[in-house]
């Protein structure tokens, strides 16, 4: 937080005119920034402070909040049965899903830079799934991967291959979500493609003249050049995983058959808590159980985790804060 406190004008003896100019500039800054100042106060800082406040309160939305000290915190960390499974799932997703997504995105990015015939078609085909609305995409995958009647298992069955339970099997539900995430690789593909195209051609030529093979060129020319982008992809991937909500929730609902107005209760994280993520817990405690305090504790955990990775991102990619001077 190094505020570059450069005053808008030079130090010595401020003339009346200069002072007026500074006042005008300050007004102008305020005018330009006012929507954001209001927005960040009302929709970020205020609710953040309020979340901290409610995390020490018992409040069900009806009766007045009462102070309960650390009760919500101990409940979430020691007694709330969904907390640790959600955290474990998040760790799994960070290790497996984020890694695979980065590798796959890089692979597809490389591939698209090499394709010569029909490049436009391939680029569109690879990119399009990224745009599919998450609910629709998840619904489509829940259908494709339906264990009993879905086309994927139909095909696997007729090839004599094993037919996993996918979203219905606690061991397969996260791999199925990973498959869905790989399908929507378009964002990473484009970022990698752009960075690959930015690698100076001369470096490849020089490496080729030195007799470097494909792998060596990749290792000694491509990788060093795109390394910051890989890091960017990893960290934003981790942050996205912290926010992972719609896909696991909709997949669980569709697969369990408990969706919409049905009378059974939805088992959060179906099957067997294997698709629980922290944002779902905020909804579960805050909007299903109306345990405002517990929900705020989860929210703060989520906040802490997101900020740690954001700080990491900003340290490494200081270009984020780059200015023109």
């Amino acid at each position: 937080m190094t505020a570059t406190t450069i005053a808008p004008a030079r130090r010595p003896a401020l003339s009346e005119g200069l002072r007026r100019k500074r006042r005008q500039e300050r007004l102008r800054n305020l005018a330009f920034l006012s929507p954001w100042l209001i927005g960040v106060s009302v929709f970020f800082l205020y609710p953040l402070v309020s979340t901290v406040y409610f995390s020490f309160m018992k409040y069900d939305g009806f009766t007045a909040p009462t102070w309960v000290g650390l009760k919500n915190w101990t409940y979430v960390f020691t007694d709330y049965p969904f907390f640790w499974p959600a955290l474990r799932n998040t760790l799994w997703l960070v290790i497996v899903m984020v890694t695979l997504r980065v590798l796959f995105g890089l692979g597809i990015g490389l591939l698209i830079t090499k394709v010569k015939t029909g490049a436009g078609f391939f680029r569109t085909a690879f990119y399009l799934p990224y745009l599919a609305p998450p609910v629709a995409a998840t619904m489509a995958f829940a259908f494709l991967l339906n264990p009993g009647t879905g086309p994927v298992n139909n095909i696997l069955g007729s090839l004599g291959l094993p037919q996993p339970g996918w979203f219905n099997d606690p061991h397969w539900s996260k791999p199925a979500l990973t498959l869905l995430a790989l399908w929507g690789i378009g964002d990473l593909m484009v970022i990698f493609m752009a960075s690959l195209l930015d690698v100076p051609l001369e470096q490849y030529e020089a490496a080729s003249l030195d007799g470097a093979g494909w792998w060596q060129r990749f290792k000694f020319v491509t990788m060093p050049n795109i390394q910051p982008i890989v890091l960017f992809a990893v960290i934003t991937g981790v942050i996205q995983t912290m926010q992972y909500y719609t896909q696991p929730l909709v997949a669980g609902k569709v697969a369990s058959g408990v969706i919409g107005g049905s009378g059974q209760q939805f088992e959060p994280g179906y099957p067997e808590k294997s698709t629980l993520t922290l944002p779902q817990l905020v909804y579960h405690l805050g909007f299903q159980r109306f345990d405002t305090g517990g929900a705020c504790v989860i929210a703060l955990v989520l906040f802490g985790l997101a900020m740690v990775f954001t700080a990491f991102l900003m340290r490494r990619g200081s270009g984020f804060l780059a200015t023109d001077d």
Binding site: G257, Q265, R289
Partner: protein, 442 residues
């Protein structure tokens, strides 16, 4: 720290004080005049077109009887939305609300999101005992607060494939668990390392074969009088789990059954495994009758009460019950008009019967159950009897809804999969978890 930041903190603090002071909402007194022209909003959860048509017809009949009250009907609303909207209040919130989840009655009554119906019942002179079967009266109140009334009812029983029974030489549906286990084994036909027909799918994820549905056959007591979880103390739960895991073992083991289960179609679709003959027996609700007919099943279907433990053979005929409930929003400004609709839908015999006929549910009043207008074939009558059996039961309400059932179910999943083997310790741990969750909800 820049000035901006301080200003922002100040703004935040002011705004915070604002929220901190809200919360207390007093129940509006029911002072509206139900004889004046008014419009009330009614929320329900039905979504299938035929069901929506049935509820609309029901509401039309009400409007014909009470021409001054117009009803705005909103369908496809689930309990999460109800809880949320009733807390928020505001112009979109409903006056009359129905829910499929009896589990939530505890939440609804304890948190006063639904109005206490006692003053209305007294005012209209409705005698509960003359109107509703006892189990239905129980699951619509919580710790003495009656905030809902039953609107139709679901009963669970045993469905069996008569053709498969004949082929296996079984002449009548099993009445005790040991008869049932024998039948399930007899009806099971292997094919490779899987099955061509399975007698019964006992795994807890096998659609309606859930812990609570099974447990009802053992006369369970979920909570002590003090409201503590009672799973370890009541042998019903351990016995049920032992019975289930034994049957799982006898039919080929958990893994093999899970693999077979993965080949099942949707529960509410045409490819339900009972429809397709993949299983010869199933535990299910009365609605399956209509669905099986729609799906065009090719065999003769039989229905009987679900079997009971051998040492409780005299209570044969009981089953798990559940049902739709209806109540009045505490935030409603038109509670007297709302009460007219609730009273009509829950106690008017014709209304209850025609609605039950339309959506193939069990009617929820004593008069309606006896009504000659009720279209009930042999199979449906079995469910009517289960619904009226004195030992039939449902899962009790709790302050945090059905959370305790999910906790029990969770242990049951681990137990059936062999991940946990110590039954007594597991149930004790489950008790502790349920108590902690309830303490947090209180």
């Amino acid at each position: 720290m820049p000035r901006v930041h301080r200003a922002v903190l100040a703004a935040a603090a002011i705004a915070l004080l604002g929220t901190a002071c809200t919360g207390t909402s007093t129940a509006p007194a029911a002072s509206d005049d139900a004889t004046k022209d008014t419009t009330i909003t009614f929320w329900h959860g039905w979504s299938a077109p035929s069901e929506v048509a049935a509820i609309d017809a029901n509401v039309k009949a009400f409007e014909a009887k009470f021409p001054n009250i117009k009803v705005k009907v909103v369908g496809n609303i689930n309990d999460d939305k109800i809880k949320q909207a009733l807390r928020a209040g505001g112009p979109n919130s409903p006056d009359v609300v129905s829910s499929f989840t009896t589990d939530n009655v505890g939440t609804f009554c304890a948190s006063h999101v639904f109005a206490d119906l006692k003053p209305f019942l007294d005012k209209s002179g409705v005698d509960l005992d003359k109107n509703f079967p006892k189990p239905l009266q129980d699951y619509t109140q919580f710790q003495g607060t009656r905030c809902t009334l039953p609107l139709l009812n679901d009963a669970y029983g045993l469905y069996y494939n008569k053709d498969a029974f004949k082929a296996a030489g079984i002449t009548s549906p099993p009445k005790t668990m040991s008869e049932f286990d024998a039948a399930a084994k007899k009806l099971t036909k292997a094919k490779g390392d899987s099955f061509s027909q399975l007698g019964f799918m006992p795994n807890f994820h096998g659609f309606e074969s859930t812990t609570t549905h099974f447990a009802a056959q053992w006369n369970p007591t979920y909570f002590t009088a003090e409201g503590k979880s009672n799973l370890a103390a009541d042998p019903a739960f351990a016995n049920m789990l032992k019975w289930q895991s034994n049957l799982v073992k006898e039919l080929g083991g958990f893994a093999k059954l899970e693999k077979y289960r993965a080949t099942f179609g949707d529960e509410f679709g045409a490819k339900n495994p009972f429809h397709t003959g993949q299983v010869a027996m199933a535990i299910d609700g009365e609605w399956r009758l209509g669905m099986a007919k729609e799906a065009g099943v090719k065999f003769t279907m039989g229905v009987a009460p679900f079997p009971v433990p051998d040492d409780q053979a005299d209570s044969y005929g009981k089953g798990y019950l559940s049902g739709t409930i209806i109540g009045i929003a505490n935030t409603s400004q038109k509670q007297n008009a709302a009460w007219e609709l609730v009273k009509f839908m829950t106690t008017d015999t014709d209304a209850v019967v025609s609605f039950a006929n339309a959506i193939h549910n069990v009617p929820s009043t004593l008069d309606a159950l006896k009504s000659p207008k009720l279209t009930a074939d042999e199979n449906f009558k079995t469910f009517l009897e289960i619904a009226q059996h004195p030992k039939s039961s449902t899962t009790p309400a709790s302050p945090n809804g059905g959370a305790y059932q999910l906790t029990l179910q969770d242990f049951a999943y681990a137990f059936e999969a062999g991940k946990q083997t110590d039954l007594a310790a597991g149930l004790a741990r489950t008790d502790a978890q349920v108590d902690k969750d309830i303490a947090q909800a209180k």
